[in-house]
């Protein structure tokens, strides 16, 4: 079994978690996606240092690491700026049951559009393909908490609470 070839980008102890993930899969190139998952869970996003380190350690060309990191939607190369996130489900059932109206209301009332954040940067709006909670459509996740049978009013209320509470 190979050992860690290159030194971690910093003395941050969190790199040990990343190393452990790579070690578990024997530092094989096929550990790439698993490693990216763990790195992102640990640091919140994947920066250039992380990509270079993982590429060197797993013996995968940096271009391929970059390719994989940008191909999949789960990975992000930028840190999350907002304090709060709302992830709306854009699945079929949610679409049919009024998601477009909710999105329109968020845009009109709060200037919040998918992929963006409120003007004060406190709340970000993201989309998910399908949260597989179609029985409760439309559904969204507010700071990790799932809310079903969403309406424009409830969505606005929740996000306003974040924005007002913080100011």
């Amino acid at each position: 079994m190979k050992t860690v070839k290159s030194a971690a980008p910093s003395t941050d102890n969190r790199w040990r978690i990343v190393d452990a993930a790579m070690r578990r899969l024997g530092f094989q190139p096929h550990a790439l996606i698993e490693t990216l998952h763990v790195t992102q869970e640990t640091f919140g996003f994947l920066d250039e240092d992380a990509l270079r380190y993982i590429a060197a350690t797993l013996g995968v060309p940096l271009s391929q690491v970059y390719g994989v990191a940008t191909f999949y939607r789960a990975f992000t190369l930028k840190p999350k700026g907002a304090h709060h996130t709302c992830v709306v489900c854009t699945g079929t059932a949610c679409h049919l049951k009024g998601l477009p109206e909710i999105l329109a209301a968020l845009e009109a009332e709060l200037g919040l559009s998918p992929g963006g954040s409120t003007p004060d940067g406190k709340a970000a709006l993201m989309t998910a393909r399908c949260l597989a909670s179609c029985g409760l459509a439309p559904a969204a996740v507010f700071d990790g908490k799932m809310v079903g049978n969403l309406t424009s009013a409830t969505a606005l209320k929740r996000i306003r609470q974040w924005v007002e509470h913080e100011s």
Partner: protein, 547 residues
């Protein structure tokens, strides 16, 4: 551990279960969980303690009970009472009523078609057993099929049973499972793999999630049987990244199975060894395509490759690989346990067994259901589903998500199976079933699915990469009412081109929602054409006079 010992363990657990007296089951499926059923479970557990009934009552979390629309659901056994829309505040009353009459205001009647007209094979344990305890699965006849296969059958016997059962792949294509197993078994090579495809990417589908979260041991047992049959010693379960609960439960189940020597080296003291690893997807619809899925497991970008060679000959790391979908594999333990004849007696001539649907949209009883193949759609939607709520009128049912098509009213009495659906321009698909009422525009639905395919197209082949963008642009014109007759011609031409020239299933099936809505709801497209913009200046005064 030999079969007898396992059976003994089975019995001893049964005894403790009986000693409990009451079993209070809290649905921990995705739907109920999002209504915080975990807090209800804690409240019930606290109440049991408070009532001093720790010894005679056992509160447990179970997989999806099916009727997501009425969640959070709680059931009490052995009385067989089902409670709906339970809140934390109801916990005391429920525990208090255990030896008395049930809490009337919370009762969810189970003598309705929703519960009576279903037939459960794949979901037989979902909503009944605690998915995080191997004992409960064993107690429900779990791993008996694996013992039977390993100790009483040759790999060839297992394949013969699967072949004779008539099981067909539930991932969409409907390819005969036995045939796939035979190909892998016969392929040259000492190293072979089994992959369980749990990359359920269709928006609106959550059947596989139901199995992975509600009955994970079933998949492990099925994969081990498949490994034995085709001669593989390693299996991978590829789970969609969004399903963190599935990943957690599968990993726990694998650990438990390893501890009981149901996975690992020399299972049941036979020469057969099998290990399973969970691999997590990272959010790409196309990675559900089998060659793309293999690329994903290998740590590469999940883009498809041309077939042949098929994975059955050259798959993971160039080795023969069996890839089956979650629902397909979930049938295997029941087939081996009860025999091929039992299974092939269920369903239609060309579609055996049952089919699981995630019923959503404008229908009363949204949730997870399982019915025998050949059940007419009308029964599924109007009896089991309870029809369209709020006085709406049924318009169509969309099956198979972005790769599928819609079925209008006139075909509702047709029995569902692979071939009948294909005939009318829809597909069985993975099992997403979206009921659409007359308030929805079919053009808008087609646009929705095309936008999905446009975003999810991996970009490897031109017809799909460019075609989906162009078709989506055309559909936007239709939905905005600025389309011309020429746009309709272009749209149909593009559908044909993308369908026939794309590399993988994503592109080949991307035009399906457009084609099927054009087939049955052409008038909705025509109504969106600007009357004064006829094709090549053709006189369109007729439509102008009516607008």
């Amino acid at each position: 551990m030999n079969p007898e010992e396992l059976l003994q363990k089975n019995v001893s657990h049964q005894l403790t279960a009986e000693a409990h007296g009451h079993d209070v089951r809290v649905c921990m499926g995705a739907g109920c969980m999002s209504l915080h059923s975990d807090q209800i479970k804690s409240a019930l557990t606290a109440q049991v303690k408070q009532h001093g009934r720790d010894k005679s009552c056992h509160v447990k979390g179970v997989g999806c009970m099916g009727l997501c629309a009425a969640g959070p659901l709680v059931s009490v056994e052995p009385q067989g009472v089902l409670y709906k829309e339970v809140t934390e505040e109801d916990a005391g009353e429920i525990i208090d009523s255990l030896n008395k009459a049930p809490v009337a205001r919370l009762i969810c009647p189970t003598d309705t078609p929703f519960f009576q007209n279903q037939m459960k094979i794949v979901l037989e344990n979902c909503g009944k057993i605690d998915p995080e305890r191997i004992e409960e699965y064993v107690n429900a006849d779990g791993y008996i099929a694996l013992i039977k296969a390993l100790t009483e059958m040759t790999p060839n016997d297992v394949i013969t049973q699967v072949m004779r059962s008539g099981l067909r792949g539930r991932g969409g294509g409907g390819y005969p499972t036995g045939l796939k197993w035979t190909t892998v078994a016969k392929a040259d090579g000492t190293q072979k793999y089994v992959i369980c495809n749990g990359d359920e990417g269709d928006p609106g589908a959550f059947m596989d999630r139901g199995v992975m979260e509600g009955d994970p041991h079933r998949l492990i047992e099925a994969m081990a049987i498949a490994g034995y049959a085709v001669g593989a010693d390693t299996g991978y379960i590829f789970v969609r990244g969004e399903y963190s609960m599935s990943v957690k439960r599968l990993r726990k189940a694998i650990m438990q199975a390893e501890r009981q020597a149901l996975l690992g080296k020399n299972i049941f003291n036979t020469p057969f060894s099998f290990q399973i690893e969970v691999r997590i997807g990272a959010g790409a619809f196309v990675s559900g395509e089998e060659t793309a899925l293999i690329a994903c497991i290998e740590g590469r970008r999940g883009v498809p490759s041309p077939r042949p060679p098929y994975p059955a000959e050259r798959g993971l790391w160039g080795c023969p690989t069996l890839i089956n979908n979650v629902e397909t594999l979930a049938n295997i333990p029941s087939i081996i346990r009860n025999g091929a004849d039992w299974f092939s007696n269920i369903g239609t001539r060309t579609g055996k067994g049952t089919v699981v649907f995630a019923m959503t949209g404008r229908v009363q009883n949204t949730g997870l259901i399982e019915v025998p193949m050949g059940t007419p759609l009308r029964e599924v939607i109007f009896d089991i589903g309870g029809g369209v709520p709020d006085g709406g009128t049924f318009k169509a049912v969309q099956m198979g998500g972005p790769s599928g098509g819609c079925i209008p009213e006139q075909y509702l009495d047709m029995p569902i199976d692979f071939d009948s659906l294909l005939e009318i321009g829809a597909i069985m698909g993975s099992g997403g079933m979206l009921v659409i009422d007359d308030s929805a525009s079919m053009v808008d639905m087609a646009k929705f699915f095309m936008e999905f395919c446009r975003i999810e197209s991996c970009g490897k082949c031109v017809p799909c990469r460019v075609g989906t963008v162009q078709m989506h642009e055309l559909l936007i014109r239709f939905s905005e009412g600025t389309a011309t007759e020429r746009d309709l011609v272009l749209l149909e031409e593009l559908c044909d081109l993308v369908r026939h020239t794309s590399l993988c299933g994503l592109g080949q099936s991307a035009p399906n929602p457009v084609l099927s809505t054009l087939r049955y709801f052409r008038h909705e497209y025509m109504a969106q054409i600007r009357p004064d913009f006829g094709a090549n200046g053709v006189d369109t005064h007729e439509s102008r006079s009516t607008s």
